[in-house]
């Protein structure tokens, strides 16, 4: 057991229990800033948590960040752990973070697919989907990033339950997705929605379900490019910026398409390192460099959102 936030090894991959336990130590270390909000339970009945960073107020304008919705993308979750700690420790020290949290709340879901994450530790390191049972099929799981109500069931998603990009029986069929949808909708004041994936080194904005440009394409592209400039300033990591459809492939039912379509203008998705030979098996010694550079990009987006209310 990691006994306190200080002794936690951020440069290592951890089990779900260790991460959940570490969340408690973070909350205990920053009781006036960080709280742990249970947003529901997973298919296999594990609790799902978001860390809420707030300096007070009721339903302030907020930023949603999720990591680890694809189970095998471990560096996404590991980076989110590091960034949660960074945000908490930088509050009151870094004027930018202090100002941000003085005006807005940040919700950070570190393990958005807990069942899948546990499954990658116990049974199949390459597992991507949820673990729900598909009636009439021997194959389990739905791709939780094809399950959102945004062009659901369209191009770039599979109707085959055995596929890694199976969209599920209906939009929001996955409880893990529904929990986030319910939180965002009941809150009603989210101004940014950011999903953190791995790998490929991309910063994307909507749409994925369509290759047409969104109305705010120019602004999102410009924000994305500046964010990537900030990210690259640390190690020179090269990122591509663009709409999901244009820089990877058409993919329907994605989270940031849903968030954009319900009116959350600043919707982005990161694909973290690497482009090299490791894929989802990024060596642990690259976690902190990955998280550090991502934080710079993420912070740039959050600052922009803070400074451009709508």
């Amino acid at each position: 057991q990691e006994r306190n936030a200080r002794s936690f090894n951020f440069g290592a991959y951890h089990t779900l229990d260790t991460i959940y336990s570490w969340m408690d130590t973070l909350v205990a270390a920053h009781p006036n800033l960080v709280s742990k909000v249970q947003i529901g339970t997973s298919y296999e009945n594990r609790p799902m948590y978001a860390l809420k960073f707030s300096t007070g107020g009721n339903k302030r304008p907020a930023i949603w960040i999720d990591a680890g919705i694809h189970a095998r993308e471990w560096v996404s979750t590991a980076s989110a752990v590091w960034m949660a700690d960074k945000m908490a420790t930088d509050y009151g020290v870094d004027p930018s973070v202090t100002s941000l949290l003085g005006q807005m709340d940040v919700y950070l879901s570190i393990v958005t697919n807990p069942d899948g994450y546990v499954y990658t530790h116990t049974s199949d390191r390459m597992w991507r989907k949820t673990r729900s049972v598909n009636t009439g099929s021997v194959c389990r799981g739905v791709d939780p990033n094809r399950n959102w109500d945004a062009g659901f069931g369209g191009p770039g998603a599979s109707k085959n339950p055995c596929s890694d990009s199976y969209h599920g029986p209906h939009a929001h069929s996955e409880i893990e997705v529904k929990n986030v949808v319910d939180l965002v909708q009941s809150h009603g004041n989210f101004k940014a929605f950011i999903s953190v994936h791995a790998y490929s080194q991309l910063l994307m904005y909507p749409y994925g379900y369509s290759c047409t440009s969104v109305p705010h394409q120019a602004e999102l592209d410009s924000v994305g490019r500046s964010a990537v400039q900030a990210l690259s300033s640390l190690y020179g990591t090269s990122y591509k910026v663009g709409s999901i459809c244009k820089i990877i492939y058409q993919a329907s039912g994605g989270s940031i398409d849903w968030s954009y379509d319900i009116g959350i203008k600043y919707s982005f998705a990161f694909e973290l390192r690497d482009t090299g030979r490791y894929g989802f098996l990024l060596p642990a010694n690259q976690i902190i460099p990955t998280a550090s550079e991502t934080w710079l990009g993420l912070k740039h987006i959050m600052e922009y959102v803070r400074d451009h209310p709508y």
Binding site: H121, R125, S163, G279
Partner: protein
């Protein structure tokens, strides 16, 4: 535990729209149990495929027959997983 002994990850650099179409056909073929880590979409981005050991020969033949350039990105997936698992266990201790 599912084992991935001898599985490889191939990085494919498609050079034409024809290559992309062929890779899409490969993606639709469930028989080889390929796991596309990145999907064929354009010649700008590489396509990474986790190929089970049993399908390696057939997939490489397919790529070579159609003159689609590729290289082995991960030579033995299980070796990397074992290293990662060791790291996780060491850290837990």
């Amino acid at each position: 535990h599912k084992l991935f002994i001898g599985d490889q990850v191939l990085r494919i650099n498609a050079e034409s729209e024809e290559h992309i179409q062929l890779l899409k056909e490969l993606e639709d073929d469930e028989g080889w149990e390929l796991d596309f880590w990145t999907h064929p979409a354009s010649t700008d981005l590489p396509v990474d495929i986790h190929v089970p050991f049993a399908s390696l020969h057939a997939v490489k033949n397919f790529l070579q027959a159609h003159k689609i350039p590729f290289h082995v990105m991960i030579n033995n997936l299980q070796e990397l997983l074992d290293e990662e698992q060791e790291g996780v266990e060491l850290n837990a201790m």
